[in-house]
Point group: C2
Amino acid sequence: MIKKIAVGIDIGGTNTVYGFIDSSGRVIEYVEIPTRGNQPIDDLLSRLDSRIKLFFKKNISFELLGIGIGAPNGNHFTGKIQSPPNLSWGDVDIVTIFKENFNCKTILTNDANAAALGEKKFGAAKNMNDFVVITLGTGLGSGIFSGGKLLYGHDGFAGEMGHMCIDPEGRKCNCGNIGCLESYASATGIKKTIINLFEENPKDAFLQNINSGKINGLTIDKAFDSGNLFAKEIYDYTGIQLGRGLAQAANLLSPEAFIFYGGFSNAGKRLLKPAQISMDNYLLSGHVGNISLLQSALPKGQAGILGAASLILTEN
Amino acid sequence: MIKKIAVGIDIGGTNTVYGFIDSSGRVIEYVEIPTRGNQPIDDLLSRLDSRIKLFFKKNISFELLGIGIGAPNGNHFTGKIQSPPNLSWGDVDIVTIFKENFNCKTILTNDANAAALGEKKFGAAKNMNDFVVITLGTGLGSGIFSGGKLLYGHDGFAGEMGHMCIDPEGRKCNCGNIGCLESYASATGIKKTIINLFEENPKDAFLQNINSGKINGLTIDKAFDSGNLFAKEIYDYTGIQLGRGLAQAANLLSPEAFIFYGGFSNAGKRLLKPAQISMDNYLLSGHVGNISLLQSALPKGQAGILGAASLILTEN
């Protein structure tokens, strides 16, 4: 019997992940390829196109039901990726392109919304109606469920929690504004924190090491676990700032939980413990103790493709 | 023919308003009585009870369909008013009490949600699916619509926008936290601003006057219109802080508009113009110019009772 399956694609700033997923959420095959955001979009599209078609040629017991896509600045309403940060593509009418190439239903959402859909359908939020998934990568994204529905806002751009101001006298963000949460709680933000610490302590070997190269959460985690005080300070400081942003969102949305996904979420309790204390400190007293901070319950990197695929699977 | 109508009740810190409302939103009768929040809740309940029953005795062409109630800390899920601020009642199981007394459907929500429902069903938000109603009274409340639905959060306490922190080094709020939006943009907040200005300028006659008595928006409006620079400074400062809070909420929710209701919203452009400039300053660039600040389009004091009544009318 031929089984209808969805393709979920999660386009990221560095890598793009795609998977072939059945209605139970089983990932039949899962591939990561470089996005090459400095090339024209056609470069990524042609690689995806040939690989997806090859899969169905090889696996004749499967049929393509549709394609769900999560992408930075992906707009659910317009079907376009609109000038994504860190990618040189400008506006891309990706839904039209995929529909023409594959002749199947194609639905787009942004990357954080895809992760939120994945957690709702198959992950930590299966039994929740009110939660926020936060992606901690180069930036900080968020996908918001309230009353069982993903929030899009009037133009599809709800969920820009990374650009909530947590300190009007704070850091300059890449977006041009001041004190955005993302300028503290993301790889970009942590890098800034490391630079500040390194300037104050230029002779410390650990700070020298993590300041010189690409920021790497694993190195900080290991140092933290072996009792390095600067590693602790990095996560404490980041957690305090993160907690402020969480409290702002929580006072507005009253979610059951925040669920963390993406590179820096692997820090787990090292980061989430100070974040919880800080959040509770800024919450209205009635909320204190009622909002959990959780890590994604899905295999690494799969919330995005599962959520993107669920856009197709849920409708069928 | 007997016409079925709803009663909408809006319980406030000082006054309680109730009205008899038909399915088209026509307010057949509309009464304001003192809440007397320092008395036991039975005092207010017995007055409402006798007056509502008297209305239906006198007007035999109307039949009671149900009662909708908006109240501070009114919880839609539990049907209880939970320790409302400025009222000495503790927890009140108001839905059960009304159901027993009137033998009709009774639905509770909080006061800001009632105002938001009123604007959606009969007011400025009739054609909007994504908007936030902000009540500017003693405190600052908010009712949020997203995707055409009122947001309640997991426990019914979503919409506490007044307690979003806009300045971690800012004013102490009555809730115990620091820098809450309400401690700037509300009667309570404006009073603090006036005290600060008066301390710096103790000889100014206008500041002496507004500092000595109960805060009165109309007095400030008149002074503003006659060119008083302190009145301008009060609204400019309040508007700047308000705009910061609006930007935080807007980055998260991407609403089409914020709609202002309640005492201080009568300041209109005097307050909303600096608020708009400040909000746009803190928004992600894609949102700038896309979010309107509007005043309630309903007769003074009626959004709350219309929205409370709509809880009954919408279901029938």
